[in-house]
């Protein structure tokens, strides 16, 4: 039996906005579509930026990637603000429960001193890497082109900030404030971190939004997250009695799995547009992958010593396979 609740039904004049209808026909549209397509201005700008008079406010020429339509990009998660916020709220609830569990059961006390030290040395300076990711997300969101492409980057920016904040909390579980200061000192001065810091600082001056996406979200995040949070924390540390750490950083594992799908879709769309795009993406991805892998080696050594080379080789292999699937051979 079906319930037959009735409402006064009025025939609508149209199903959606004209810009959506021009793209997909006049049929009911999703919130993602209505909230995304064509929102950004593309014509008849009034003034050139005083800070960049060679370009319009929004200008396709800021990147070497060429798209016939920048709305060819589509976020497979269909994130607009509401969908994004609801998804993250759910994840933060889980993260809160995990951190609370570790804290309330004093699981940090169950870690042996050596593991605790290695976890501290590995994870806490990564706060600064995530803070760099926040800046780069802002860059691409600000200077990229077309809402379908730029919108996910404000989410990336804020996610990176959140990760920096979660790592801060992990630090405060592992010890006290002084650990954060020590970690910053390592980030600034220890040899093991200088390759990575140089990498991050070099991305700050990358002007091409698409290259910056490759350098930050594809190459660096694409190697760092599976290496640190899967291979090291979830596998190595967990096998050494460190499930508490794994629990406390679960947000990062889940987050990477989810955002990777979006990054892959973005690469795929741009790479399949033209041979020129594909070649550029391959060049950038190859260049930044090599730099990221090299920068991560001494960092991984902090946590897993001699195993680092093997782990990184595995990650690079997986990374290459992942990009091949997205249409880029690196």
């Amino acid at each position: 039996m079906q319930m037959d609740l009735r409402t006064v039904s009025i025939q609508p004049l149209r199903q959606t906005f004209s810009n959506i209808a021009r793209r997909f026909g006049d049929k009911p549209a999703s919130r993602y579509q209505e909230g995304t397509y064509d929102f950004q201005s593309t014509v008849n700008f009034h003034y050139r930026p005083t800070w960049d008079p060679d370009h319009e406010i929004f200008d396709t020429a800021r990147t070497a990637i060429v798209m016939a339509d920048w709305y060819a990009f589509k976020d497979p998660r269909q994130f607009y603000y509401g969908a994004y916020t609801l998804a993250r709220a759910k994840q933060q609830e889980a993260a809160e429960a995990n951190l609370g569990f570790v804290e309330n059961h004093n699981l940090v006390a169950t870690l042996d001193a050596d593991l605790r030290q290695r976890a501290t040395d590995l994870l806490l300076p990564l706060r600064h890497v995530a803070w760099g990711g926040n800046l780069n997300g802002a860059s691409v969101c600000a200077y990229g082109y077309g809402t379908a492409f730029t919108q996910p980057f404000i989410f990336q920016a804020m996610d990176h900030l959140a990760i920096a904040q979660y790592l801060t909390r992990v630090g405060l579980l592992l010890g006290d404030e002084s650990l954060l200061d020590q970690a910053k000192a390592s980030w600034m001065n220890d040899d093991a971190w200088q390759g990575l810091r140089r990498y991050v600082e070099d991305t700050f001056v990358v002007k091409d939004p698409f290259e910056l996406f490759i350098a930050q979200d594809v190459a660096l995040d694409g190697l760092l997250y599976p290496l640190v949070f899967d291979a090291i924390v979830n596998d190595v540390f967990a096998s050494q009695g460190g499930t508490a750490i794994s629990l406390a950083t679960q947000f990062m594992t889940e987050w990477f799995k989810e955002t990777r799908r979006w990054a892959d879709a973005t690469i795929k769309t741009a790479a399949s547009e033209s041979a020129e795009n594909k070649a550029l993406i391959e060049k950038w991805a190859g260049h930044w992958r090599d730099r990221a892998a090299a920068a991560l080696r001494p960092v991984a050594q902090i946590a897993v010593g001699d195993q680092a080379d093997t782990l990184i080789a595995e990650q690079v292999e997986q990374f290459n396979a992942r990009l091949a699937k997205a249409g880029a051979q690196v």
């Binding site: 005083t50 607009y80 603000y81 916020t85 709220a89 800046l135 904040q165």
Partner: protein, 518 residues
């Protein structure tokens, strides 16, 4: 979020937040600071210590998500219920919808621009505090753009004029007024952007811009608009705090900043005030159930509240914005002058205009005893009589536009409401025209910027506002219909008088269906 360190010491909110933001930041050494943040110097603003920035709201991301998601859940539940229940039939009168069309085409795409603009500002500032605050606002502004389009999506299904807001913003003549305002702000440097949008717009003028629309919705049975407005309220409160903080921060950093900031306050108050003409007109003419007059709103929200603010800023050496005398004189006039303009140009606008009813004329007389009966009522009565005889007046000659604010040159001389105000400047062998001393001075301060203005009337005359492939030399070429095509304004649907419009007929028919058994 309750947080203890493992040593058992509980961190205070401030301390905790410090670790969560500025504790993350570092001085770069592999790349020079001026290469990482190249935009902080060129406006001449001097910042000596970014750490003096007081974070106006200490919100970590997890708390942000939690709080915002609760608001989103509620908002979208109401949007859905409103749509399912044909809530649009509960508004006071279908004329009301035109106020919302103005909002959707004139404001929502600007919320989007604010999203991008705050991303630019957040990227530009080297300080961790302002960066986080700006980026959070960038995210909020995306929220506002999207919740507005989602709320109004249902109106678009049933009424005309809602169907292409972002397209129209970039083309339709009067929409170049709000659009150029925001284009102006984002093409300025990051500090000026913050003074323009964060301070002048979000702090000083928000009660005159956002609030009248939302209150208008509440007064006129529009729960859809009201709900997104109220849902945005706590975001706006954060944004206002940021706007005030940035101005105090800049002023406290160096005395050399004071004259620069003063010039920006003068400029952006005037620019903002000119944009508010549209809101004034909406309040006085477009709401069937009125909240208060434009004049009253200006007196309460600017003269009283703004007066207190500028008294407070006086200790930094900031004086109230320029041209307030003129604004004060003009408050009796601008809404009437604007409505008369839209009434005349109703054939090329994406919303309807109409002759006010006798009751409404009386309300206007009572609210504007110094001006309405003397200058404006007779004209409206004349137009109404003409319309009743089948001679509804549509002006077919394009007006001259002000080079700065881009409003047609319809405003009158300060002190003489019978004389149109004209100002002009010769620059590089060309003549530029202005509606006021304010707009003229703004041009003179930055002529290289404002000579670029994309003026819709000029662009039409230059042949740049026809659909691609149009041949203006072809026989029977009708420029108006081609311009409407370029605007994507449907003739006889989106434009012309409310009387006789599809909106009017459909609303009456549907309301009948919903409230009777016919």
């Amino acid at each position: 979020m309750d947080m203890k360190t493992s040593s058992g010491k509980k961190l205070g909110l401030k301390e905790k937040y410090r670790h969560m933001t500025r504790g993350l930041d570092w001085e770069t050494s592999y790349q020079k600071r001026e290469d990482v943040h190249p935009l902080v110097e060129y406006e001449g603003i001097k910042i000596h210590d970014w750490d003096k920035w007081e974070d106006p709201f200490r919100l970590t991301m997890d708390a942000y998500w939690k709080y915002q998601s609760e608001k989103e859940r509620k908002l979208y539940a109401i949007i859905e219920a409103y749509a399912q229940n044909n809530g649009h039939l509960n508004v006071t009168d279908a004329r009301y919808l035109n106020a919302i069309k103005l909002f959707l085409t004139g404001i929502s795409p600007l919320e989007y621009m604010a999203h991008r603009g705050f991303a630019m500002a957040g990227r530009a500032f080297p300080g961790a505090g302002p960066r986080v605050a700006c980026l959070m606002q960038s995210l909020d502004e995306l929220r506002h753009a999207q919740t507005q389009i989602h709320s109004l999506s249902n109106y678009n299904k049933y009424y005309n004029g809602f169907h292409d807001p972002a397209h129209m913003l970039q083309r339709v003549w009067y929409l170049s007024v709000p659009r150029s305002f925001f284009d102006d702000a984002v093409t300025a440097g990051p500090f000026e952007f913050m003074v323009a949008i964060g301070f002048s717009f979000e702090y000083v003028l928000t009660n005159l811009l956002f609030v009248p629309f939302v209150s208008g919705a509440a007064y006129n049975g529009d729960m859809g608009t009201m709900t997104f407005g109220f849902s945005a309220q706590s975001d706006e409160a954060r944004h206002m705090t940021l706007g005030l903080e940035i101005i105090k921060f800049i002023l406290e950093q160096d005395p050399d900043n004071i004259p620069i900031v003063q010039r920006w306050i003068d400029k952006w108050t005037w620019r903002g005030y000119r944009v508010l003409t549209l809101v004034g007109m909406m309040m006085d003419y477009m709401l069937p159930k009125r909240i208060m007059s434009w004049k009253e709103a200006w007196e309460v929200y600017f003269e009283q509240n703004g007066g207190a603010l500028f008294k407070d800023l006086a200790r930094y050496g900031i004086r109230p914005p320029k041209w307030l005398d003129q604004i004060s004189f003009d408050k009796d006039h601008i809404s009437h002058q604007a409505w008369a303009t839209f009434y005349q140009y109703g054939a090329i606008a994406d919303f309807h205009t109409w002759s006010p009813t006798e009751d409404e004329l009386d309300w206007l007389s009572a609210k504007y005893p110094n001006s309405f009966d003397k200058y404006y009522r007779p004209r409206l009565k004349f137009w109404r009589e003409q319309a009743e005889q089948g001679n509804r007046f549509y002006n077919k000659t394009l007006p001259q536009l002000c080079q700065t604010c881009q409003i047609p040159m319809v405003f009158t001389e300060p002190g003489d409401p019978t004389k149109i105000c004209y100002r002009e400047v010769d620059y590089q062998g060309e003549k530029f025209h202005f509606c006021s001393d304010g707009c003229k001075e703004i041009f003179e301060n930055e002529p290289e910027k404002y000579k670029q203005s994309w003026l819709p009337a000029h662009q039409i005359y230059q042949g740049n506002c026809f659909p691609e492939g149009t041949d203006p030399t072809a026989e029977g070429f009708d420029p108006v219909s081609k311009v409407l095509e370029y605007y994507n304004i449907g003739f006889g649907q989106d434009n012309l008088d409310f009387e006789g419009s599809q909106d009017q007929k459909n609303f009456a028919k549907w309301r009948g269906m919903a409230t009777s058994n016919e």
